[in-house]
């Protein structure tokens, strides 16, 4: 797993778009970028994964620039229920997930 750096915390208000950027300067050619979301009192859950350019699903979008040294998780029009910790993981072929401290997002009314 490549080393990643992401902000410790972010604050937002309901209805705003939230962008969380993860830096991964040592990403390898075959590595994927994966984000997990953890709500309070629950285990983490997979939300999105990508290799390059842009990926979108019903939960979020993931933007990956051409050099792939960073990625941005975008949450459109957040609600209170998006308050969670978001983890960025980079790698492939690994046997276990290694989580950092993640980004703690607090959405306020």
């Amino acid at each position: 797993l490549a080393k990643t750096t992401q902000p410790i915390s972010m604050d937002s208000y309901e209805g705003q778009e939230v962008n969380i950027t993860c830096s991964h300067n040592n990403i390898a050619t075959n590595d994927y970028i994966t984000w997990y979301q953890q709500f309070p009192s629950q285990g983490p859950r997979f939300i999105i994964q990508g290799y390059k350019t842009k990926v979108t699903n019903e939960v979020a979008s993931l933007f990956i620039p051409a050099d792939r040294k960073s990625s941005t998780l975008s949450l459109p029009r957040v609600s209170l229920s998006d308050t969670a910790v978001y983890y960025c993981l980079v790698g492939t072929g690994f046997q276990k997930l290694v989580f950092g401290t993640g980004t703690r997002l607090l959405v306020s009314p």
Partner: protein, 117 residues
């Protein structure tokens, strides 16, 4: 069931007591993981099983921690002579593949919150 199930959800143990935490992974999932999560921290890896084989136990903090998955499905994490520093949420996860790559994800249970008093 549809997801990973852990029991009990909450456990209070007196210091020195032994505890056993159970994990029912998603049926057919090859990989099973145990994580420990302290308050305000990310999950810390404890151990990994591929079917019944424990391939990685590098994260177990001491020989008081023991995990097993004898038939390659249900797993138990046992902590002997619990200490206050063992207080944490213990998360179990399973995955259908032996390694993570594209379109491979881990499914986590809700965890067992252990409080040692």
């Amino acid at each position: 069931g549809a997801g990973v199930s852990q029991s009990p959800r909450y456990k209070v143990a007196k210091r020195g007591q032994d505890v056993a935490l159970r994990c029912d992974p998603i049926s057919g999932h090859v990989s099973l993981f145990w994580y420990q999560q302290a308050l305000g921290q990310g999950p810390e890896f404890l151990t990994y099983f591929q079917n019944e084989a424990q391939l990685d136990k590098s994260g177990l903090p001491s020989d008081r921690f023991f995990a097993e998955r004898p038939e390659g499905s249900v797993s138990t994490l046992k902590i002997q002579r619990t200490q206050q520093e063992d207080s944490a949420v213990y998360l179990c996860a399973s995955s259908r593949e032996p390694r993570f790559g594209m379109n491979t994800e881990a499914f986590f249970g809700q965890g067992t919150r252990l409080t040692v008093v």
